[in-house]
Amino acid sequence: MSGVENVSRRRFLVGTGAAGGLVLGIWFLRSSRPAAPEAVAPALPSGPAFEPNVFVAISPDGTVTVVCHRSEMGQQVRTSMAQIIADELDADWSRVVVAQADGDEKYGSQNTDGSRSVRRNFSRLREAGASARAMLVSAAAAKWGVPASECEAGLHEVAHGASGRVLGYGDLAEAAASLEAPSPDDVVLKDPSTWRYIGKATAGVDVHEIVSGQGTFGMDVQLDGMKVAVVARPPVLFGRPARVESAAALAVPGVERVIELPALNPPAAFKPLGGVAVVANGTWAAIQGRRALDVTWNEGDNASYDSGPYAEALMKTARKKGRVVREAGNADEALRRADKVLTAEYYVPHLAQAPMEPPVATAHVTNEGAELWSSTQTPQVTRREVAGALGISESDVTIHVTLLGGGFGRKSKPDYSVEAALLSKEVGAPVKVVWTREDDLRNGYVHSVSAQHLEGGLDAEGRATAWLHRTVFPPIGSTFRNGMTLGGEGELSQGFVDNPFDIPNMRLENGEAPAHVRIGWLRAVANIYHAFAIQSFAHELAVAAGRDPKDMLLELIGPPRIIDLAALGVKYTNYGDPIDVYPVDAGRLANVVRVAADAANWGRALPEGRGLGIAAHRSFLSYVATVVEVEVSAAGDLTIPNAWVAIDAGTVVNPDTVRAQCEGGTVYGLSCALGQLTATEGVIDQANFDTYRVARIADAPRAIDVTIVPSTAPPAGVGEPPTPPMAPALCNAIFEATGKRIRRLPIADRLRA
């Protein structure tokens, strides 16, 4: 089952860089693991263990075009995907260009989420590059009439050592295009010691365009005859317009149409919220038109949602026994017999992804089909949803992926793209749907609010003997299925059931919580609140035991070992990856704790008002520890002079990107401790960055020191893992500096005297 096909024979045209020339196309089919069902291309002759993959082209001028099938949202995936292929291809980096893939199942999953672009594509992209290299070598050998074994690929060329002959990749492209692809078993990967690009800090391929304002984000798409739509969406989920007065809106110069969108019925899923769209000849006119629109809403049942009382109800649920999802020993008995018992409750509010570029998509729907330019993390899901909403075939829908001005999970949901498609169809012209910041914050898919109750028991020596943890949150599943109130396996697998602590008596429970807003993914998802509670409570136990928090944390993590969750009867999803390849490794977690603590010179004396806090968490198969140094003034002003991050993400492709993600993920985690969305009568109270607080430069750590633990383990996640440890490390540091314990986020003005 060869992974490489001759593209010209398949009449597959490259959109960028190689049109018109003869090309060597590598269309790779092999997968390192079975694809998720939705990712299997039904048209392929291969079995379910195979999925179509990436596309490489070499044109006669020697340009190597790599198609990036994942969405670029700041994680430099366009760079890392190209690094992997170019390395095994022995391509000259300066002659590699990256083309962005449209949404198409032939690439395998394109869902850019779950911190999995590198780890799910590493092996097959290496094999794709290596196959191409082998074909180029074969082509050269055939031209020279020598055995391929006497030829060797160098940098962008093949050489025959004995005769000293050399041919460039461009010169070989035509000949290679006529060759059969080698069998995957014959593909020889490079030894890691000879990697040219993998593991080397590499500048982002788009950085020049970005700094000169030339990058094309979804917001920047402009088409001839394009209209701009701004939508008045129901302020309360599942509300609908009772009365629409559109005269004033239509009177705004530039406003052309007022269009009611179909009402949304539960479950919300990926469907648009409904409401009333104002379509105009420009963005400003559309915004003005919506302002002039007068809509009276039937709010519906969710108008009962007040987040204040709701938080108290969640807390109450967390105090009661819930569904047991992991149990070892007898936590109740151990708590009764403990020398000291500690109880604490933690609360993390709703949060917004708030990417700098709000959701935006442009659609052009004609009788022939639909063409979209979307700032999306999920082009295939977008394609499916647009096709469904228009009642046309997916093959008649084209999704172009722009640069994303941040995603953080918000742009995994294609509701805004569907809005654009519906409106374009109605208007008969291209339509760009622009979400304002107010729309983004008030009508989003919010991060779940959560309440957690913990009880811990210590023996006379200050060792933890009992651990009871209950987590209660409205689940993401409620967005997709009516009446879901219990945490999903995925959420409970995010830092809850995989608790790494070596405590003999442990019981973990989950209680019910109904949702009244759309709940969605936000960078690191449930790990945010689970890490906050567990790592805060670990620090509280250390304080109660009179122990050094870092030493206590290491003792809680216990000896190096693989934590066998299956043996404990725990359902654990492990981020969709095999547990034998990516075990829960207490030793690696303890190691990052030591590395971060050493980097921070843990244990040193600090001046008055300063404190060090530490937290560690495994998520998306990576291990991260964060140490934060805070300074709290007498007036209660918080500054963060330093943070230290240690990450073990297995093999890393681009260390500079990993550093950047650790820096940025730390700041994102800080924002998780600063911001909150609240609701009154079902309406989100915050509408812009004046009331929804996010970290600014003066809030952020002045310096962030990142240590990447050298590893030859398989690559693990990078985009999300640095976020969860930040808020608990920060609040632990605040306690050390002030004696004030923050159990309820946001920190807000809690530090004021």
């Binding site: 700041g74 950085v207 700094v211 000169s212 400003w284 941040g406 940025g664």
Partner: protein
Amino acid sequence: MRIKVNGKTHEFDGDPNMPLLWYLRDELGLTGTKFGCGAALCGACTIHRDGVAVRACVTPVSSVGDAEILTIEGLGAEGPHPLQEAWIEAGVPQCGYCQPGQIMQAASLLATHPDPTDEQIDQSMNGNICRCGAYVRIRAAIKATSGGTP
């Protein structure tokens, strides 16, 4: 009315209350100036008005008068600005959406404070949000440029 943008004069006869942001983006096609909040709260739309950083999203076209407007496209028109080079060197951009605004704000800072302290950087740059959290590198890139900017 006439508006000078990046050294070129344009005729404008639209809604005088329209923020400059939308004129630049929708009508002149200068999309390097970004929309992030529409309320001068995030800095993504930062441009220069006679060399001083302002938020285009709350600057009505009618208020521009004879002022020279400079956008990110104009900043490096005659070769990259030292800040743009420093941004590349430090690997500042992640998603990059806010970076034109960050660079315009930093250029305005350096014009008045060629060698800014950390506190001056905090004060000047605090209105520019980066949700990717590239702040450490933004600071480093500004410092790398300090003293060397025209």
